[in-house]
């Protein structure tokens, strides 16, 4: 395979196993990599490369055999690619110049065989490695997702969605690409380098020395360029991150921007960041782009040196034309691996760093692990007690202080109080989304710490403050409450929640597809669907956290009727601002500053003329 130094062969490489990454340009969360950033942008360097590499090796699992297989195939195809130039040189020296017809026939046939075999090997090698890498990252992605399901809520509070998305997508993709390309390329680079060197030495020692002259030049140049490029790429990535952050936020809050007429101002701010990115971007691109022409010129010089010096040697009878031709090819195969090695090293570095971030999540403790050997909660009467519960999200800032309450089976407990008083926190603790600092929570006399979290949660029916719906049909969103529910049961639940009427008015009824942001329903309608979901779940203990705040009061009254049916015989916790919702409760707990300051029935609390009385009368004092 004779070739003139051509940069065309450089990007993408005419080597097997070099599959352009497909599709994984991530959606929202993962910021786009900078142009040509791969391998150039020094992401966070891996902290413990060897350990991480060992873990990846472990991940390959059953794929390990395939990987070994791939390495063998790669070795063979690398050797075959070295055989080509050797045979061509031989053809010219031994058969064409001396006019050996039979020899040429024989040689052409062997060349065809070598090339066919080489192509086959290259193809098969990529075929296998693609399978290995795709399956490996599938497992990795699967494990990561499963782990996310196990992690406690505080973990999510501390991370932005973008960050977590980026780990599951970009970082994993990085690992995949590296497995896919870098590993085989690295091996073939090394093999080609060594193989070419050996063959060259065998052919002609002096010519080998001549060909090696430019190697230090290559190393020096790539090193220098890489150093400079790294600096500008870091700056570019940083600027790009800033820009993306700005875009993310402004576009998410676009309606607010409009209402306050900040469009021009936003565009102005954007322009500033955009321009900064432009400046560093141009520099980064120019520097990284120089690698191409630089390699090209080195190849050309090498080509010239080999041609000229080889010519001189041949002139003096020290070498042959065929050998010059072979060397012209080998020198090409020689320079490329060095360039690639430097490149692949960076790619692998960034992939290892990515893998490390992924493993970091995989290593985060599950909230369920302590559950082993714990009791499962099955038949629940619904007696809930909190004894001296104290809790803080941030250390030293207690949100609940020494809270004690008892809910007898079937009772309705209303939690009332100003925003930020800690009502939602109580819900978060009942579900064990968070762990209490001190005190004790029991259900039917069992300490919740000694119960399996999942068995506890499945006895609780919760309607949360923000009505979260999935991008699926309305029917499936309601079915989320109980996966084996029939369509008839779903509709019955919707009727109870007073959602049936509006759902039927939609053009597609229960089959209406909801978007992730649920923009096609009003806030109140979304709440009705989440209520239907909780009704369907038919839990032993019901928790309504401001479930109806965006529903108008008449609709709420209808829901309330349904709820009354539902709450009968179930322990229920209700958080609401509207006192009409809670006046029927068996117990009303008034919470302020993390403490229960009043408790009793509606009538009792009114008679007490305390906090509750003021809340209540502020609503009604001017009526009538």
């Amino acid at each position: 395979m004779a070739e003139q130094p051509s940069r065309a062969a450089e990007p993408g490489g005419m080597r097997g196993g070099n599959i352009p990454p497909i599709g994984m340009q991530m959606g929202m969360g993962g910021g786009p990599g900078g142009p040509g950033a791969r391998g150039m942008a020094p992401k966070v360097r891996a902290k413990n490369t060897s350990l991480t590499l060992r873990r990846i090796w472990g991940y390959l699992g059953r794929q390990r055999a395939s990987l070994v297989y791939v390495l063998i195939l790669t070795a063979i195809s690398s050797l075959l690619s070295l055989a080509g130039p050797y045979l061509i040189g031989t053809a010219i020296d031994k058969y064409i110049i001396p006019k050996d017809y039979n020899g040429l026939v024989w040689l052409s046939c062997s060349l065809v065989a070598v090339y066919l075999l080489g192509a086959l090997m290259t193809w098969y090698q990529s075929y296998v490695i693609i399978g290995v890498s795709q399956r490996t990252v599938r497992e990795l992605r699967k494990d990561l997702f499963a782990r996310l399901q196990l992690l406690p809520l505080p973990f999510f509070d501390g991370k932005t969605h973008g960050e977590l998305m980026s780990r599951t997508t970009n970082d994993i993709e990085n690992v995949s690409n590296t497995l896919n390309q870098s590993v085989t390329q690295l091996l073939s680079s090394v093999l080609t380098f060594v193989g070419a060197l050996v063959l060259m030495l065998m052919l002609d020692v002096w010519m080998t020395v001549v060909s090696l002259i430019t190697i230090p030049l290559v190393m020096l140049l790539t090193g220098q360029i890489a150093k400079r490029t790294r600096k500008y790429f870091t700056a570019q990535q940083q600027q790009l991150g800033e820009l993306n952050g700005f875009i993310q936020e402004t576009v998410s809050g676009q309606k607010v921007v409009k209402v306050f007429r900040r469009e021009a101002k936003a565009a102005e701010e954007f322009d500033v960041i955009n321009r900064k990115l432009n400046e560093v971007g141009i520099k980064a691109q120019i520097f990284s782009g120089t690698v191409g022409p630089a390699m090209n010129v080195i190849n050309n010089i090498n080509f010239a040196v080999i041609a000229a010096v080889g010519g001189w040697l041949a002139f003096n009878g020290l070498t042959s034309i065929g050998i010059i031709v072979s060397f012209l090819n080998y020198s090409k195969q020689f320079g490329r691996p060095i360039n690639e090695l430097a490149n692949q090293f960076n790619v692998i570095q960034s992939a290892v760093a990515g893998a490390e971030r992924v493993f970091e999540i995989l290593d985060t403790a599950s909230e369920y692990e302590e559950n082993k050997g714990l009791k499962a909660l099955t038949e629940v009467k619904g007696e809930v007690r909190l004894r001296g519960v104290t809790f803080s999200y941030k250390q030293g800032v207690p949100v609940l202080k020494n809270v004690t309450l008892t809910a007898k089976p079937g009772e309705t407990i209303a939690l009332v109080g100003p925003t930020g008083a800690g009502k939602t926190t109580i819900v978060n603790l009942l579900t064990r989304f968070y762990e209490i600092d001190s005190g004790e929570i029991t259900v039917d006399g069992e300490n919740v710490r000694e119960l399996e979290k999942n068995s506890l949660r499945s006895q609780l029916g919760i309607v949360l403050q923000d009505a979260y719906l999935f991008s699926d049909t309305i029917r499936e969103n309601i079915r989320y409450g109980r996966l084996d529910a029939t369509d008839a049961e779903i509709e019955a639940a919707a009727r109870l929640a007073n959602a049936d009427a509006f759902i039927r008015r939609l053009p597609e009824g229960y089959g209406t597809q909801l978007s992730a942001e649920g923009a096609n329903l009003s806030q109140g309608q979304r709440q009705l669907i989440t209520i239907a979901r909780a009704i369907l779940a038919d839990p032993a203990i019901l928790i309504l956290d401001e479930a109806t705040s965006s529903v108008d009061t008449r609709t709420e009254m209808h829901i309330q009727e349904a709820m009354n049916v539902l709450m009968k015989g179930r322990t229920s916790f209700v958080i609401a601002h509207r006192l009409s919702t809670i006046r029927e409760a068996d117990q009303i707990l008034v919470i302020d500053g993390g403490e229960i300051i009043e408790r009793g029935t509606h009538e009792e609390l009114l008679a007490e003329q305390g906090f509750y009385y003021h809340l209540y009368t502020s609503q009604f004092k001017r009526v009538g």
Partner: protein, 577 residues
């Protein structure tokens, strides 16, 4: 994709110089094998040492000239592509800024963000690649072809056979691969969707103990994606070996036929070697073009997505000669207003007529989805009416300059969206030049001052994304403060105290009455207690006004209102009342 070429226009010099420099480099590259052949033919074979030396030096000189061209191309293509991306991004962002609410409903925020970030980077890379490689490869191919033909027209016949085969293979691959790419993208979207939803809805997932269900859902998406990605990658992986095989086999053919020509002495050996080099270059270049075409076809998807945004026109625009006159009083009149959302069949509002006098408070009550928010959104022209007119101080809102109209209207949206930054900056959002005293005054009115002062850094406390470290009620109060600061002639509160407790709410209302005495105020609320003092209460049902009047009037005459009232107070109170 071609539509975007205009963005290269301001940089036409760079866009032109880049391929020209590349041309120089390519030309220099093309000379090399020819000179090498000359060394063999005229130097080695004719034993001319002088020729070998001078030609060798010439080759190095030529290589250096080529370097100039290469670096020039890199510089100019970087400038052109980066500036292209910068300008495109700027315009796209401005475009999004000009979007009406209707446009924003049409393209979800997530998608807009991807277009502004990923898609533009894709296109920018594509331009750069085009200016560098896409130009280089055909030049190199055509140049090599010409050189090959000049060396030996007879041997060039081999190329005439091989090239069509090469093109055919490329064509087939692209035909097979391209539909796969879009499938890969779709499946990937599904993986991302499941992931995104699980992150956002993690509480729901945990509360309903659906981890296993979600894992299964993710597995399905993950497996689907892997399967299709595997297929696509493997199709692409065929490309290289086949190209290499075609390339190498044609070299064997050249060697074979060339060998015969050498024997017939119609071709010098050096020329044969050069010819082989040129052939390699032709085929390499073409297969590169193939690779690039695959990338270009992927970039086309991005271009389409960008163009979709670019071609979306906001239907809400200033009319010519729009009035700049200030809203002096704030009398708002609805005159038989009807409205329909584009995606829906039914009217959201029908024949709404009423007048809000300056300084009045108009409260709007109604069932979920009855059209309350829609109604107030029409006042600042967030949407335009389908039928009828809205007038402020006698002027149709569509005849007023938009910028001006909205400056005079303060609005608190149902969803309180806060930005990353300090609390002070968030309150100052509508009026960045406001003094600290002004900020504090409105925060006090919105009952936010106390909780702000309890925070470690007070007004300088930085909020996380979307105000993540605040409770719902706190966010709402900051949004109210933000709207109050602009001292609007017309204030709109869209259910903006739903997460605020009653006591706080009544204090906010008290403060509003003092602060906004001269402003016309629209108030959407759920609680009767919130609307008791309103000068006018509109009860909306299924897009119509079904009752209108003060609390006292409605309480006496409107059955619907009594119904709502009863739902909140319970029967006894009504009886006593």
């Amino acid at each position: 994709m071609w539509k975007l070429r205009g963005y290269l226009k301001p940089y036409w010099k760079a866009s032109l110089l880049a391929p020209l420099c590349m041309l120089l480099e390519v030309y220099m590259d093309l000379l090399q094998p020819k000179l090498m052949a000359s060394i063999i033919n005229n130097g080695v074979l004719t034993r001319n040492l002088q020729h070998i030396q001078s030609t060798g030096l010439a080759m190095i000189g030529i290589a250096l000239v080529g370097l100039l061209g290469g670096i020039g191309c890199t510089i100019y293509s970087s400038i052109a592509s980066q500036c292209f991306g910068t300008d495109l991004r700027r315009d796209l962002f401005s475009k999004v800024q000009s979007f009406s609410f209707r446009n924003l409903d049409h393209i979800p925020a997530g998608s807009l963000i991807t277009r502004l970030t990923n898609d533009i980077v894709q296109l920018q890379n594509m331009v750069q690649m085009t200016l560098r490689t896409l130009i280089r490869s055909p030049f190199l191919a055509i140049g090599s072809l010409i050189m090959a033909v000049t060396i030996s027209p007879k041997l060039a016949v081999v190329l005439a056979v091989v090239l069509p085969v090469l093109f055919l293979v490329l064509y087939l691959l692209i035909r097979f691969a391209f539909p796969l790419f879009s499938k890969v993208q779709n499946k990937l979207d599904q993986v991302n969707t499941v992931l995104q939803e699980n992150l956002t809805g993690i509480r729901v997932v945990k509360a309903f103990v659906r981890a296993r269900f979600e894992n299964k859902r993710f597995d399905t998406a993950n497996n689907d994606y892997t399967a299709i990605a595997l297929k696509a990658s493997r199709v692409v992986a065929i490309n290289m070996p086949i190209m290499m095989l075609i390339l190498n086999l044609s070299i064997v053919a050249v060697l074979w036929f060339g060998g015969h020509q050498v024997w017939e002495s119609s071709l010098p050996v050096g020329d044969l070697v050069a010819f082989i080099n040129y052939v390699t270059q032709v085929l390499m270049s073409f297969s590169m073009v193939g690779m690039i075409l695959m990338n270009v076809s992927r970039a086309k998807v991005s271009a389409d997505r960008v163009n979709e945004v670019m071609s979306t026109e906001s239907e809400i625009k200033d009319r010519p000669h729009a009035s700049e006159a200030a809203i002096s009083q704030g009398r708002v009149t609805f005159d038989q207003v009807s409205f329909r959302y584009p995606s829906q069949q039914d009217l959201a509002l029908r024949d709404i007529s009423f007048t809000a006098e300056p300084g009045q408070t108009v409260a709007i009550l109604g069932a979920t989805g009855s059209g309350k928010s829609t109604l107030v959104n029409l006042i600042p022209r967030l949407y335009d009416t389908t039928k009828g007119h809205i007038r402020i101080d006698g002027t149709d809102v569509r005849d007023m300059a938009l910028q001006h109209l909205r400056t005079c209207i303060g609005m608190v949206l149902q969803e309180s969206f806060l930005f990353t930054g300090s609390i002070r900056d968030n309150i100052r959002f509508g009026k960045p030049e406001a003094t600290d005293e002004e900020v504090e005054a409105v925060a006090k009115a919105a009952q936010a001052h106390d909780f702000i002062m309890k925070m470690p850094d007070g007004y300088n406390t930085r909020l996380g994304q979307r105000g993540i470290n605040l409770s719902g009620g706190q966010k709402q109060r900051l949004s109210i403060a933000r709207a109050l600061l602009v001292r609007p002639a017309i204030l709109i509160l869209d259910d903006s105290t739903s997460a605020v407790d009653l006591g706080t709410e009544s204090r906010i209302q008290q403060a509003l009455r003092e602060l906004m005495r001269t402003s016309t105020c629209f108030l959407i609320a759920q609680r009767i207690s919130s609307v008791l003092d309103a000068d006018k209460i509109l009860v909306i049902d299924e897009g119509r006004i079904v009752a209108e009047g003060t609390h006292a009037e409605l309480y006496r005459h409107s059955a619907v209102y009594q119904d709502i009232y009863r739902s909140q107070l319970g029967k006894e109170e009504v009886a006593h009342g």
